[in-house]
Amino acid sequence: MTPKTTTKFGIYGGQFLPEILMPAIEELTAGYEKYKNDPEFTAELDRYLADFAGRPTPLYHAKRLSNAYGVKIYIKREDLVHGGAHKLNNTIGQALLAKYMGKTRIIAETGAGQHGTAVAMAGANLGIETVVYMGSVDMERQRMNVYRMQLLGAKVVPVESGSKTLKDAINETLRDWVAIVENTYYIIGSVVGPYPYPVIVRDFQTIVGNEAKDQIMHAEGRLPDSIVACAGGGSNAIGVFYPFLDDADVDLFAVEAGGSNLMVTEKTAYHSASLCTGELGSLHGAMTKILQNKYGQILESSSIATGLDYAGVGPELAYLADIGRIKPRNVSDDETLDAFFELSRLEGIIPALESAHAVAYVKKAAETGELGDVVVINLSGRGDKDVDSVAKRAGF
């Protein structure tokens, strides 16, 4: 049994789950403790990260963007990870953990399809049966990713409940886990959900920050003044931030989806900025900052970037925001689109719309001096998946 105090980050986190899953969560906690420093496990994971995922990813000095925005910008190229996003760092780690724990079936939720694709890749590579739950609205929005997952041998199950998007897909994946708990491993896609998931996913994503720290020291001979990452659930953000938490001079900015505006109605938020505007509550197994109405019903969030479109955020990020170690920010859909175009034209890199939020914030904040002189942007993914929807918006 894990002592209760260790399942929380301050008041955030915990395990708000049906009793039926508690033994599985304890088994996961024990399994992760057993294997995380196991030489065989870590050696195999390192091999996968190098030869399958393509790590390390470069830290790239973006000269033209730096000139345009007036700060020295380095881009951590998670867009170059196999699958096109940082997601595989986590899924390969968890799929391997599932294998070591003797699980024969992996399940996952997906919003944009990025996490689902990364799960399907890991599942195919390790030869484990893979089922991905996806809201039917999201399936319509991201048809190519649905096909990609099927191509990789995963079964994609449409979710028709609620808003038919990411949060409903998580609900349905939890229900699957409840139903077939014995042989099944749930690979959650971000630093959300019940403990120990926020820790497991963070640990697997920390490689991003570890590499970036070495690389910036090599390039600049010093740490950056600030690091900027987009935050949906927050896995790429905490992954790049974590190794810098003790470096008090490095400012850490988590940029959320400001959507069309920061307004909410009884049922809907026109944004997904849960760190910036959310209130304490429990969602998907954790206490965190969530978008909810006065009765505690979860709002349907929105964003131009499907991968940020979530009403909650990782509990550790909520904690780090409260103690002032990270700075939550948000940018609008329109600011994001501008950055999407600018990075494409100035650097020849088409960013994921999620990642373009980080770029957009750098543009906005560079003018105020808030970011200092040297900035690292974590470019969590590439934008190929978004080209279609951006082209439609642009009237192409």
Partner: protein, 261 residues
Amino acid sequence: MNIEDKFTELKTRNEGALIAYICAGDPTPDDTVAIVHALVRGGADVIELGLPFSDPIADGPTIQASIERALDAGMNPDIFFDLAHSLDVSVPLVVMTYYNIIFKRGLERFVRDCVKSGISGIIVPDLPVEESDGLATHCRTHGVDLIFLIAPTTYPERMGKIADRGSGFIYLVARIGVTGARDDIAESTLSLIDLVRGTTQTTTPLAVGFGISTPDQASAIIKAGADGVIVGSAFVNIIADRVNVPERIEELTRELKSAVL
């Protein structure tokens, strides 16, 4: 009325308890009043009123749909407590809702509202015993039962912790899975009853739910030694049909109740 008193009363008559679940506000609060009265006329011993939450992870499609209908019709905690208060029934009422609804209202305020509106117990399917200190304290102070679930996956040491903390009755989850009507009954469900009693030596009544919908299942469970059965989706299916709802609810209740006599 106090839940354990109800079980004691039934025990002296050698009856099993029939616990009926419906989601309040499906399709409207007025309908809920009529349905509750039909349940009472049919012989339900305890009524579990669902207070709908937008993201019900422990519920299957039937109850999810009921929750969605109730939310669409405007059900919220304020209306819920008014509704419960207005119900003039002789059987104990229990609220079943998810933790965020309780947390958002404030733990103590929620428990006080239960007392004020005549609700004797609270079931929270996403609140494991580890996270329950706060709510349990307020429940104890105000004399409201906090009812916990024991699942087929719960191992003996956890059973003990749960039995120690819970009161009113213990909710045994009949099968691995979410709520929803089935027509079979697993051997393991029947053995779970003995296992829980043997392991925990608890005197708290045991009621079995999840997937119970027919009189045959209900009677098998009582014969296996449970003190009560919990039926939800079978009632909710009738409500979803919208045809002769109170009559059919009353009839099903009567059939189920006669199976646990």
